[in-house]
């Protein structure tokens, strides 16, 4: 069974997608042997009524998939009283984590509000999914050009938040390979999904570079074809142990209530 850590519900603003209705998305993911999908909302990228976005997300995740969909609420720390959105995600919607889009919400990672948000997420024991990009900048709508998040400050930030569980989604090209070491050498638990990994055998190379325990299967479905992520696993010629870790085990251990890296290492 597969745990997909990077799917989105609702509508992508610039085109309709196959799978942008939750019932259809669930059916298609099931067909691909996905047992669990960590779901954010496309609405969280541009909507200002984030509370409404997260309420709809939680409802869809309850209504469709019989527990397959795990909601990750959007937080925009540039909105007034954003801390209340974090509280609602945790206390009212029982979400295990939040999803952030700094480039669409107008802040950089060295903005003090980002550190404040990480600190609150850590206090709430919530996983943080940080999305570095959504689209190739070369093909964006001319009135909606959004460069990827500059991940350079991430290493120091994570170092200052020991225990933080951070998942970096769609990280290419925002994060250069030289920056991995800074991020990984910090004391936080930082993970990377495979949705934007490219180059022949790219997933195997990522595993070599950041370690097996830090890589998660993520498809960026339905914005991307699910099959692209799946076939990248196949192309990379991973061992059964590696496949199991990426497709399921790493994500399950991360999501477990104690969620610590030590668990992941022990079981692998």
């Amino acid at each position: 069974m597969i745990v997909d850590t990077n799917v989105s519900l609702s509508r992508w603003p610039f085109r309709r997608l196959v799978g942008d209705e939750p019932a259809e998305l669930v059916a298609r993911l099931r067909k691909q042997n996905v047992g669990q999908a960590w779901a954010g909302s496309f609405d969280g990228i541009l909507h200002k009524d984030i509370s409404g976005v997260n309420t709809r997300l939680a409802k869809d995740c309850r209504t469709f998939g019989h527990g397959m969909l795990v909601p990750f609420g959007s937080i925009n720390p540039k909105l007034p009283d954003w801390q209340e959105d974090v509280r609602r995600c945790q206390e009212e919607h029982n979400m295990p984590g939040i999803r952030l889009h700094p480039n669409y919400h107008g802040y950089t990672l060295d903005d003090p509000v980002f550190a404040e948000l990480l600190k609150l997420a850590l206090t709430c024991r919530m996983i943080v999914q940080l999305v570095l990009s959504m689209e190739d900048v070369r093909t964006q709508h001319p009135l909606m050009r959004v460069p990827p998040v500059d991940a350079a400050p991430l290493g120091d930030l994570v170092k200052n938040q020991p225990g933080l569980r951070l998942v970096v989604l769609n990280w290419a090209p925002g994060l250069q390979s030289g920056q991995w070491h800074t991020v990984l050498s910090s004391t936080g638990h930082v993970y990377f999904d495979i949705s934007t990994v490219e180059g022949v055998g790219g997933v195997a190379r990522l595993v070599e570079q950041v370690s097996l325990e830090r890589v998660l299967f993520g498809s960026n479905y339905p914005l991307f074809y699910f099959e692209s992520a799946l076939l990248k696993m196949q192309e990379s010629g991973l061992t059964e142990v590696q496949k199991n870790a990426l497709l399921e085990e790493n994500a399950r251990l991360l999501l477990a209530p104690t969620g610590g890296e030590s668990h992941a290492h022990k079981s692998l």
């Binding site: 070369r138 934007t196 180059g199 699910f226 099959e227 192309e235």
Partner: protein, 280 residues
Amino acid sequence: MFAPLIRLSYSASESSERFRIWDVHSHLHSVPGNTPEERMMALIQFADRLGIERLILSQGYSADLHPNPAQLREENNRVMRAVRRFPDRAYGSVYLSPSNLDFSLEEFDRCVRDGPMVSVGELEADKRCNAPELDPIVEQAVSMKAPILQHTWLKVGGNEPGESTPYDLVELAERHPEASFICAHTGGDWEQGIRIIRHARNVSAEMAGFDPTSGTVEMAVRELGAERVIYGSDVGGRSFASQLGKVLGADIPESAKRLILGGNMRRLLTPILQKKGYRV
């Protein structure tokens, strides 16, 4: 040769038999190995895992967009060495530059007319492809019935100097209605690229080298017909897999997938393969 993969949906051996996948757009750069043969061996290993039967290889190691004649020749030699090592798995495609026209025409003769290569491109260097210097190159290609793979992009922030757009390719294609063109990347911005080439019947849309955004292949098939859509990857910068997923994941009939994944390219190459006495 094609090991099935446990737990994942696609069996390489099944894909190979069902689709006979040919990749129109592959390079040796960003591929592990110290020699063309070693790099090709690595590519074949990756291709085998996905059931890809044959690669059309071009440009060698380099992504240099301003190659001089010596570089062009060296890259073409690298491609021919790689193909010679795996003659049942790859064909070569000649790299030329309109800025070195006389040399390029000689190089076409060396590599295609008198050599083992079967197509032209990926043309990417120096000048936009609507330049008149492209005309003699296209005429040479037509004389050998060789299809032409032309790089195109439509970058929202502006293309590089000399970088072609699908508009440029349509201009060239209209001047040469007897030639067969493949619009590499379909402009990257595929929602525009497909519309731009729609009326140019001798131009096919190629799916390589841009993000695997859902809907790409469906729109191309809807607007152009499956006969004008061709799979390619742009390895080694891209993966075979991310680009193959566009076709295998598309909501289109299986018959359309067969055309896109190999049938169309075999149809375009059949005349030159027959001319050269290669098995089709």
